[in-house]
Symmetry: C2
Subunit: 243 residues, 2 copies
């Protein structure tokens, strides 16, 4: 882990679909921040880089002092149960916020799936800043609502879809993140392992493999390697129930 103070910082991009129709001038799928808001927000934060996969960024049960904005890479939020089982609650992609806390304590562990870079905001100062910048706070609010929707979609998938369909929905999801999906050849580079996918889908790794085999048999994808998949996007979406 490296904390950097480099001058040349990436723009603050927060991904979110609004609850209401986007207003004119808004960049599709991203919150709109004015240059000065960008700058001030950026001043609150440090950039931190995690160079290796599986680096732990924050731990379930620890005091929560920071909110994180993922700039580059993929991060997973894991929740450990008493009996040792773990559920991957979410995968985060660039533009996502993470570091969910309850009563001052992190609810999940966040770890790097790939090497990654994050903005790290001290909670207290961020809270103060948001109070003084209602437009920005509204942006964070919209992002929170966006995340509620994602979480609900996931609940629906877990409750109603069988494993092959859940997997299909997951792959469609992954294909929405440009950095790992080459639209040209419909080639998806999965950053995470079968075990991670299994813990995300609430299934065993073996079942995930079997579900992959099924999707391949039905012509929804081709496995060029365990993590190199050619996706038949239309069929995949139709099958998963994702409209």
């Amino acid at each position: 882990m490296t904390v950097s103070q480099r001058a040349n910082r990436p723009r603050i991009h927060i991904k979110a679909t609004p609850a209401w129709s986007p207003k004119q001038g808004e960049e599709a799928g991203h919150l709109m921040l004015s240059p000065s808001e960008q700058a001030e927000l950026g001043r609150l934060a440090e950039i931190v880089e995690y160079r290796t996969a599986k680096s732990e960024i924050l731990a379930q049960g620890e005091p929560a002092n920071f909110l994180y904005l993922l700039v580059d890479g993929v991060v997973q939020a894991c929740h450990a149960l008493k009996d040792g089982q773990r559920q991957i609650v979410a995968f985060y992609w660039p533009g996502d916020l993470f570091g969910l806390a309850e009563q001052g304590v992190y609810v999940n562990t966040a770890e790097a799936v790939t090497p990654c870079a994050v903005y790290r905001f001290p909670f207290r100062r961020l809270e103060q800043f948001l109070l003084e910048n209602p437009k920005v706070q509204q942006g964070f609010f919209v992002k929170a609502i966006h995340d509620i929707r994602s979480a609900q979609r996931r609940t629906i998938a877990m409750g109603q879809l069988d494993l092959p369909r859940r997997l299909a929905a997951f792959l469609v999801d992954c294909s929405g993140h440009g950095r790992y999906f080459d639209r040209e050849n419909a080639m998806l580079s999965l950053p995470m392992s079968r075990y991670d996918i299994a813990d995300y889908l609430g299934a065993s790794a073996e079942s995930v493999t079997r579900a992959f085999a099924l999707l391949e048999k039905n012509g929804l994808l081709l496995r060029w390697g365990p993590r190199k998949l050619e996706i038949k996007t239309e069929r995949m979406m139709a099958f998963s129930g994702t409209d």
Copy 2:
């Protein structure tokens, strides 16, 4: 459904556990609103009452013009899939907000489980009000974060817990809502049917019944009637994995 303009309105109570430790003076588990904020917010809203169970409050796919605050009763959010399956995404209890929208359209259908009363806020005016009242907006933000946590807990339950445990967790949840749980006798009055519970837990109604039978056999509850349950709260929490 009845829209009322009665002068004597209930207080606006929004239930939420904060992400950070509550500050002194905050009412435990509720957002803190000053009397004037209460009054102004109240002025934005209408009170609407739904006198019969199963009344539809808002419908999936319809244009979203209002955000709802549940004052009294129980409401469920149902999501219908293309193939006709339905998932109950959430049950709402007094103090909960509902009416989740995406791009101006409701994502779920909300219907009354019991007769109920709600505050109904026009989105646009509420949005404006929140921009002008950062403290209140922060409150709504905290509520949204609270709801993200609930949704994540649900994901974990769906992914990791078998049906009896999911049911136990659900019952523990229900027992947290005073109006339907008599702490004196540990007697829970379920407002919803087996089918509703099934669609909430992602299971069949028959399986839910069998799970009830199992919990009873193991001494975690007593069924006085299908919807009258004596809960052994400690054992139930221990079993469900709810700390």
